[in-house]
């Protein structure tokens, strides 16, 4: 597959570049743009980004590998990041991860044969209050996971129905 930016993309990239006094800071947003367009930033896309911005390929590669949110290879349509860091681990993060593995028939780090889901075990996503939790494709958090919630999520995603942002209130003190 040949990776190319369209005219519109290039216009957007110019707009991004205009925000910064130098080109280098545009690396992150342009990588996002590329990932949103191609679904990943594999070495070929990294080269495309580097040549579009006129930056060294090595620099772009370094940035991509630093952030886990950039996908260095092709992933499924939906990337399921299940947190197993301490709080989630204590509240059943591994159980949720294993349930995903069982339901999807894949291990963490793998993609389903139909290319719909990629399952990843990740470190803390900063939502310990709602453990165990997960994130869908670098976007929405799904909190307080249960097996039922996982079932529903997978069914919805199979119909391309993305989960909605969920507002979770913290228990407040009543009589102040």
């Amino acid at each position: 597959m040949k990776y190319e930016f369209s005219e519109e993309d290039l216009k957007e990239i110019d707009a991004i570049k205009a925000k910064y006094p130098e080109v280098m800071p545009a690396t992150l947003p342009v990588l996002w743009l590329a990932q949103n367009k191609f679904g990943h930033v594999n070495p070929e896309v990294q080269r495309l980004v580097a040549s579009t911005l006129g930056l060294p390929e090595a620099h772009v590669h370094g940035v991509v590998t630093f952030y886990t949110q950039y996908y260095e290879e092709e992933k499924g349509t939906y990337v399921l990041d299940v947190c197993t860091c301490l709080t989630c681990q204590l509240c059943g993060g591994y159980e949720m991860l294993e349930y995903f593995e069982e339901k999807l028939g894949i291990k963490q780090g793998e993609t389903t044969p139909d290319g719909r889901f990629t399952l990843k075990e990740v470190e803390c996503l900063g939502a310990c209050g709602y453990a165990p939790m997960m994130q869908v494709s670098n976007e929405t958090y799904v909190n307080n996971l249960t097996k039922e919630k996982v079932d529903k999520l997978l069914d919805d995603l199979r119909q391309d129905k993305k989960p909605e942002h969920e507002k979770v209130g913290m228990p407040q003190r009543k009589n102040i």
Binding site: P43, Q46, R47, A50, P56, E57, H59, H61, G62, T65
Partner: protein, 578 residues
């Protein structure tokens, strides 16, 4: 004048300085890994911590505030500072590890962190013996590690490019190599990938680290993470000995060190010279070490019935004398060489003068478009300007070819004219061809008499670079005719000192049977009955200095003191143009 107090000592300074460099310039020490004087200081190894502060002054009176004991009170900066990027200001107070317990402790703890994932493989690591991490751990490090968990594993034996191999586990992420490609060679080929304890430097995927200066990263790597593909596992550094020299592969005159063991040159590294090459050298010049060891001519060769056979020195002198007598002086064509030193060319010129031959001519050896504005030059020879300053006539290949046709006897030095397609082997037929050379080439194969001469690794002689700077080499390798132990100018490694001919690590065959060109000439004139004495480079240079204007005031002592002497550039550049 602004003043600074380092470990209780007062120093004056002018202009802008960084604390670490200033301390080093004083001959004192603060440990560091990532800092390099030629590059930016990102302060990411955190090893050069010092305690910094200012004496407190009363704003109104301008008097220093004193404590109860009458000492000036110091207002310390809230935390320890990295001295590599700490700008010096007037009245600054610095405490290093020598006087401050807290600094010493901080450095020790930083080292403990750096060593957490560093493999304990010094016994098989090439860097051992010249490793800042090893040395500074001995000096400033902790006695042991409190880290008892499994170390992080990272890629090993990664071929970064044709010449550099990476062991990512040893890397401490000082980023010197990355900064080198960003700031010095400007190829931007390296970056640090991953994060946290998985960090290591590498190229973009699918790209090779083929920077023409890539091996400099091996020199500046403060650990054994980057090693040279053709030197790794060849020798322990303490077995070798290090001799200053000059690069022979181009006209820049890059200052180098030759590393020898048992009279074999094993590697070449750059030697700092602010005026010429700073800390760097091109990769091409490093691979030239093979020229000193391989394909060498040992003992004179003579053509008998169309075939070259090994001869003897006596035979070589006698034959050459005979042949010179057979031709008229006007038919003798002496060709000096930009690949030979000033002293060798001078010896040739003196020989010509003595016997009434025409003054030597020379051809430059150039490859247009090779120069990169840094350390590579179009000129492929180290001493083109030397030939010009000696007053040799420069010939074009066509002119030279015509001259060669006319000559009855040709004496060449080093130049491989046949491979360079300046001459054909056929053109040399029917005339007696003598060549002074160190390595076998197509031209030496075609010559009637081949006199093996010393290379830059075996003689002390000087070379004038493209900018007109004269610099000299030192003897690094023994020949059959000199002894390291008797030659007070040769450096001596551990093996050189303690090895005897009966040890299996000493090989007599590594000494080449060759003579300096001037020694051969001076012996030859002795046999011819018109003796001139050309004893050694140092004396020849003083003779040159007193007889040739351009070399006025040049001496080995002065060259050694100033790492080379800039000759009159006016004279050089004018001649180069014409």
């Amino acid at each position: 004048m602004p003043e600074i107090f380092i470990d209780g000592q007062r120093y004056e300074f002018e202009g802008e300085h960084r604390v670490l460099q200033f301390i080093q310039d004083l001959g004192k020490e603060v440990p560091f890994f990532c800092y390099h004087p030629a590059m930016s200081a990102p302060a990411n190894c955190r090893q050069c911590f010092v305690k910094a502060g200012q004496y407190v002054k009363d704003r109104e009176t301008g008097e220093y505030e004193l404590d109860e004991e009458g000492n000036r009170t110091i207002r310390w900066f809230p935390k320890l500072q990295t001295s590599c990027n700490l700008q010096m200001v007037d009245g600054m107070v610095i405490h290093t590890q020598e006087t401050d317990e807290q600094v010493a402790r901080a450095q020790k703890d930083t080292l403990e962190f750096l060593l957490i994932n560093h493999p304990l493989d010094c016994p098989i690591c090439d860097q051992a013996g010249e490793c800042p991490l090893q040395i500074q751990t001995y000096k400033y490090g902790p006695e042991g590690s409190r880290f008892e968990v499994k170390k992080v594993h990272r890629p090993k034996r990664v071929r970064l490019g044709p010449r550099v191999i990476l062991d990512a586990e040893r890397c401490i992420n000082c980023t010197r190599c990355v900064r080198f490609t960003d700031e010095i060679s400007k190829s931007h080929q390296l970056t640090i990938v991953q994060r946290g304890d998985n960090n290591f430097p590498i190229t973009a995927p699918g790209r090779e680290f083929d920077d023409p200066y890539s091996l400099n990263t091996v020199d500046i790597c403060p650990v054994g993470a980057l090693t040279a593909a053709d030197f790794r596992f060849k020798a322990r550094v303490w077995e070798m000995n290090q001799t200053p020299s000059i690069d022979m592969t181009n006209g820049k005159g890059t200052n180098i060190d030759l590393w020898t063991r048992d009279n074999i040159v094993l590697r070449i590294t750059p030697r700092y010279n602010k005026e010429v090459n700073d800390h760097w050298m091109p990769d091409e010049a490093r691979t030239a070490y093979t020229l000193f060891n391989e394909n060498r001519i040992s003992r004179p060769l003579q053509k008998l019935d169309g075939e070259q056979v090994l001869s003897s020195w006596n035979n070589a002198y006698a034959t050459l004398m005979e042949q010179l007598e057979e031709v008229k002086p006007a038919e003798v064509l002496l060709v000096g060489s930009p690949h030979a030193s000033v002293e060798e060319n001078y010896a040739l010129a003196k020989f010509a003068n003595l016997n009434g031959y025409r003054k030597p001519v020379f051809l430059r050896n150039e490859e247009k478009g090779k120069a990169d504005g840094f350390l590579l030059t179009d000129d492929l020879a180290p001493n083109t300007n030397g030939c010009i300053l000696l007053g040799f006539d420069e010939l074009t290949p066509a002119e030279f070819s015509a001259e060669a046709e006319k000559a009855g006897l040709i004496i060449l030095v080093h130049d491989d004219f046949i491979s360079r397609e300046v001459l054909t082997a056929g053109q040399l037929d029917g005339k007696y061809t003598v060549i002074f050379a160190s390595n076998h080439t197509k031209t030496t194969k075609a010559a009637d008499l081949v006199i093996p001469v010393t290379t830059a690794a075996e003689h002390a002689a000087s070379y004038v670079n493209v900018e007109g700077r004269i610099q000299r080499t030192f003897r690094a390798k023994e020949t059959k005719y000199n002894k390291r132990r008797l030659d007070m100018e040769m450096s001596e490694g551990r093996l050189d000192r303690y090895g005897t001919n009966f040890d299996n690590w000493v090989n007599e065959d590594n000494k080449i049977d060759c003579l300096p060109l001037w020694t051969f000439i001076s012996n030859l004139t002795g046999y011819m009955g018109t003796e001139i004495t050309l004893e050694d480079g140092r004396l020849i240079m003083s003779e040159i200095a007193s007889t040739i204007d351009a070399f006025n005031g040049v001496s080995y002592a002065k060259m050694d003191e100033n790492s080379g002497i800039q000759l009159d550039t006016e004279k050089v550049s004018k001649k180069v143009e014409s």
